[in-house]
Amino acid sequence: MGEGVSAVKKNVRKRWQSRGFAWALALITLCGLAALNLGLEALDDAAYLRLDLSPDQVTALSDRSAAALDGLTGDVTFTVARRAGAQSELGDLVDELLARYAARSAHVRVRVVDPDARPYVIAPLNLSGEAVTDDTVFIANADGSRVRRVGSDQLIYQRQLDGETYRLFCGDARFAGALEALEAEAVHRAVFLTGHGETEDVATLTLALASAGYDTASLPLSGAALTAEDTLLILAPETDLTAAETTSLAAFLDGGGRLLIAYGADTPQARLPNFATLLELYGLSFETGTTVETVADRYIDSPNRLVPVTSDAEPCEGIVQRLIFPDACAVAAPSLRGDVSTETLLTTSAKAYRKLASGDLYVFEAGDASGRQTLALSAQTRAGARIVQLACAAAFTDGAGVLDASANLEFAVACVSWLAGEETAAGSADLKVLPNNLIVFADEAVENRVMAWSVAALPAAVALCGMAVLLIRRRRAC
């Protein structure tokens, strides 16, 4: 036995003394590790082997995108335009997300193309002819007959709130919308009207609509070239339509067009007679004044931040969470045309009032309009025109700070879906609106204090600890 062990030891010793054996072992291990890594990478491409610890799950698939991917009937190619050597955080996010798409659906192909080196690949995809920046993504169906373009600027959702800028990667919402649009029979366009002081604070609503598969654009009426497939959104105009624009809009509606128009309590209605004329053509109107609730569970924080009562009419279907309408006016249908039918969508309680007198907003006075106020209604003509009239534009803007805590976005998208004649209301539940990692100090003194702590605290603690231990050791040694 002892001799055997000794022989083995001798043999091993001889082998180790041979330089060749060590090199061979190292080489074999290297090859094994390389094979393991390559195999894992291939496996990772096929079945996303990653753990997403991020709070907003930036690279996680939403239910909406998962459904869109699962529902793909043909091949879809994601072409990422990226110049050689270009590397960015956005690019990494796009790659990460598309890897998940490819792992989820066998119909998804992903390729990265340098638009400078291979312009002939990009040209047929870039139908708009806009400049192609790095990380612009083109999504095309199998025969290239339908292409959706998601610009790199559209991949970051950004909004200002209370002086802070919130930024969020919204690739999943954009790509899911593009996938839905690729599969849809027709793509509808949601056009935000500009040129009349309308609110431009609609980044979140724009993203919600894009994620629901709509093409979105902000255009003046002269450049919009509206078709019957378009839905026009007018949010809180400040200046009036011209006579020509009024005629043009009336013609658009008579031709089966769709309009969502929202005012607020502070919309200067007296200065907007042509808007009023346009609505009167269909028997609709806005009422002045601020609507105030008196029933506690029908408002939040203050009586002019209303929680409307929703009806069972179509765009309200499936809205289970509360809506919040801050600083709303009211809408009415005082003299309906014979061929127009309306549905009341949102109202206040019967104990609300609309402040018309000039006193305290929260005190009902003589001259105020009391009773149930209508906050939203839909109208439809026999010719096919559809109008949604909302008494609160702020409910859909970023600055009012109500989008995160309400179903407002879901309701807005549902209204646009109804206007576009789509059967199912498109929700926006997948849209995650979270603050980024901005550091906000109350003042410079606090900032300086935190900086001082960050630089000095740890080294000082380590030094103190070290000195204490070494002193104790020295004392013990003595």
Binding site: V12, R13, W16, Q17, R19, A22, L25, A26, T29, L30, L33, L36, N37, L40, E41, L43, D44, L49, R50, L51, D52, L53, S54, P55, V58, T59, A84, G85, Q87, E89, D92, L93, E96, D114, A117, L434, P435, N436, N437, L438, I439, V440, F441, V446, E447, V450, M451, W453, S454, V455, A456, A457, L458, P459, V462, A463, C465, G466, V469, L470
Partner: protein, 241 residues
């Protein structure tokens, strides 16, 4: 192996070396956090802090590794170690694990920064954890280079300089040479070589995503270096008979 690990940990904390390493590391982190994150607008992102710490960590990593095996050779205590009942794997792993533990201790200290800033910003625990895990794994490789160099050299200084040199070489190749390749007609080669880049692998951790392929890559990279270290030490063991 535990005995070797304990002995090395004792060396770190019974001498100023460990405190010096932790002190310098936390000071550099603090400066980086103050000027990158607070003043530089990088926000509460621990990834930004740690990715900025890669180069400073390379500079101080030799403090942890240069002594490990080189000092044993210089003072001839390696003969005691090599003739002990411990296997070579136990010796090498015990020493390497001690260095890794110091790295872990340093990373635990960096959690102070997100805690410090949390009243003023929204700190994401998941993204922070991913950044810390990624930094730990990436620097296992940095430290493993140091362990190998320490096995190759007799002098601590030579081991330290070589560690710094090799790590810097990798850093420069990844940071400066590779992107140049990407912009040239060798873009295909860039695509292949980028897979070996530690920085590129670490970049996947920045969004809070921990990939199995990356974890295995870092572990196999440092594991291979430890194998080479083991081969060096084994040759010496049998040569000394």
């Amino acid at each position: 192996m535990t005995a070797v690990w304990k002995r090395e940990m004792g060396q770190y904390f019974k001498t100023p070396a460990g405190y010096l390493f932790l002190g310098i590391f936390t000071l550099l982190c603090g400066l980086m956090f103050a000027f990158y994150n607070i003043r530089g607008g990088a926000g509460a992102s621990v990834y930004v802090l740690l990715s900025g710490m890669r180069l400073p960590f390379m500079l101080i990593a030799p403090l942890l590794t240069m002594r490990l095996l080189a000092e044993e050779r210089r003072s001839h205590t390696d003969q005691l170690l090599l003739t002990s009942p411990l296997s070579v794997a136990q010796i090498v792993l015990g020493k390497a694990l001690a260095a890794y533990t110091m790295l872990l201790a340093a990373l635990v200290l960096t959690l102070f920064f997100p805690l410090l800033i949390s009243p003023y910003a929204s700190v994401s625990p998941g993204t922070t954890a991913a950044a810390e895990i990624g930094f730990f794994l990436m620097n296992l490789c940095t430290l493993s280079v140091g362990v190998l160099m320490s096995a190759l050299c007799v002098s601590q200084v030579s081991a330290g300089v070589l560690t710094l040199g090799v790590n810097m070489l990798m850093y420069l190749l990844e940071g400066y040479v590779l992107p140049q390749l990407g912009a040239s007609y060798l873009a295909g080669l860039y695509g292949v070589l980028k897979r070996f880049s530690l920085s590129a692998r670490y970049a996947t951790f920045q969004n809070g995503v921990v990939g199995l392929a990356e974890v295995v890559y870092f572990l196999s990279f440092s594991g291979f270096l430890l194998l080479l270290t083991g081969l060096c030490v084994s040759r010496r063991r049998w040569a000394k008979g």
